[in-house]
């Protein structure tokens, strides 16, 4: 039974790795990513064209796309002509502001009207505003509410349908995380949780002590058992005892299967293997993505928020301490609480995840405001 599980898990893992290489080929460098996007937009529907238009409108250095309103207008136009409301609205805005196209309020209003007819709320506001004040040009006041409405809308729609990074699509990632969570439990008979691996490794001395005591207990237990067995054989004869022992073994196996394996049976050294292979997985995957570089920072965004230099090592050490202490105190981390706990609706996990996620959001927003 167990061998089927392992084989099935390995098969799924292979499939997962295979999909990842497909994706890595698609978008290894910025230029390739752009090509891939243009290809998708050419052959895909208006959603993809609108997405590429957005990439041009905002510019995306990671994908090697320069901000370019003319290109944005071209792609918005293609999507808008196929009746895609968000693109119609975005194109209207370009016409209203004269970005990438000649400024033309009439055309802007025409596109707003089309979007509004499909229920685009911000476009409807634009139309209402234009109808209320026909004489003064509506473009005189680029209402801030409108800009906000657009960015919120575009954030929601574009993240639901589009992937602006060269990482996996959200659904691929979701399947991968769920696969790891479920397969881990299925094969190991213990819920996935990485912070407890750390806990057991840093307490390796106590682990050794525990294992030693357990061994001693078993040995003493065996002595007792042998004595009792000899006594029973003397009383009932060999055959009866053999039958009884066979029955006992069967019962014990059944009980063990029902209870699942004791987590303690996994030696702490195997947790070292677990964490070490996680690191090697990161290495392997980043080489496959063609993005492996040794660096003394944590990337451009980290440098923007915290600067660069030796002080970030101190900051990371402190932050790491909070992570180690906090996850053990809360009884789990992103994997133990967030994935395997939340999906089993464990009260501690739901509250714990809300607490760490909420705090991280608030902290990040404050950091963003301060800088």
């Amino acid at each position: 039974m167990r061998i089927y599980r392992v084989m099935l898990t390995a098969l799924c893992a292979l499939l997962l790795v295979w999909t990842s290489t497909v994706n890595a080929d698609d978008a290894t460098s910025g230029e390739d990513a752009l090509k891939w996007w243009v290809d998708r937009a050419e052959h895909g529907g208006p959603k993809m064209q609108y997405g590429l238009g957005q990439l041009y409108a905002m510019g995306n250095p990671a994908l090697g796309i320069q901000q370019d309103d003319t290109q944005a207008a071209v792609w918005y136009q293609r999507a808008a002509e196929q009746g895609y409301a968000d693109a119609q609205f975005a194109l209207g805005q370009l016409y209203e502001d004269g970005h990438g196209v000649a400024r033309d309020e009439r055309t802007a209003l025409a596109w707003y009207r089309k979007a509004s007819e499909q229920g685009h709320p911000v476009a409807r506001e634009k139309i209402l505003a234009a109808e209320a004040a026909p004489a003064p040009p509506a473009s005189a006041a680029p209402a801030p509410a409108t800009a906000e409405g657009r960015s919120l809308m575009s954030v929601v729609t574009s993240t639901l349908f589009l992937n602006r990074t060269n990482f996996w699509d959200w659904w691929q990632g979701a399947l991968a995380l769920a696969f790891v969570t479920l397969a881990f439990w299925w094969v190991m008979r213990a819920p996935l949780g990485v912070s407890s691996s750390w806990d057991r490794i840093v307490h390796w001395r106590e682990e050794e002590e525990y294992a030693r005591k357990q061994r001693a207990m078993f040995e003493r237990g065996d002595e007792l058992k042998d004595a009792m067995l000899a006594e029973t054989i003397a009383q009932f004869g060999k055959e009866a005892v053999a039958k009884m022992l066979a029955q006992q073994r069967k019962d014990a196996a059944k009980a063990a299967a029902a209870r699942g394996a004791d987590r303690r049976q996994i030696p702490w050294q195997a947790h070292v293997t677990f964490l070490a292979m996680m690191m090697i997985g990161g290495l392997l995957a980043s080489v496959m993505r063609g993005e492996f570089h040794l660096q003394l920072g944590l990337g451009a965004d980290y440098a923007r928020l915290f600067g660069s230099g030796p002080h970030i090592w101190v900051l990371l050490l402190t932050g790491g301490f909070l992570v180690g202490f906090g996850t053990r105190m809360a009884g789990g981390c992103t994997s133990g609480h967030g994935l395997s706990g939340c999906s089993r609706l464990q009260p501690g996990s739901l509250v714990g995840t809300a607490a760490f996620f909420g705090t991280a959001v608030v902290t990040s927003l404050i950091l963003e405001k301060l800088i």
Partner: protein, 140 residues
């Protein structure tokens, strides 16, 4: 001993799988994580929520009628979560991601790893000495 070799192989494979998945998802990329936390890009949020949803269905099917370890609410849950959230936002790392970051070539993740090890050690010391909470770790 044969049993132990098996633990090494299985846990090693799962570690590899997890490290690779986290890299391909972009969970170990500080910028990506930060954009999720300030809601500038919801992709990772959907990854996570989707992962939980699919796992929920999976557990309902695979683990029907089985007893799994519980994760009870105790006095340290919220406080610990807050400390972890703070650390997560400034390091971009949860306990698995710190290792994946190092694997990806981000050397300062070594500092995060040291911090995590020290933090986990200090917590158990404080728990046995002062807190004595029931964290559900004593059951199988």
């Amino acid at each position: 001993m044969k049993n132990h070799l098996r633990s090494h192989i299985f846990l090693g494979l799962f570690g590899l799988l997890m490290g690779m998945s986290l890299t391909f998802i972009g969970f170990a990329d500080f910028g990506e994580l930060h954009r999720m936390l300030v809601f500038a890009d919801l992709r990772l949020l959907l990854v996570f929520a989707g992962g939980v949803m699919v796992s929920m269905i999976g557990f309902a099917v695979l683990a029907r009628g089985q007893k799994l370890p519980r994760k009870p609410l105790h006095k340290g849950t919220v406080a610990g979560g807050i400390l972890f959230g703070l650390g997560w936002a400034i390091t971009g790392a949860c306990p698995s991601v710190a290792l994946v970051q190092l694997g990806e070539g981000y050397l300062p993740a070594l500092a995060t790893m040291c911090g995590i090890a020290i933090g986990a050690w200090v917590y158990r010391w404080a728990q046995t000495r002062y807190f004595h909470w029931d964290t559900g770790a004593c059951e199988v």
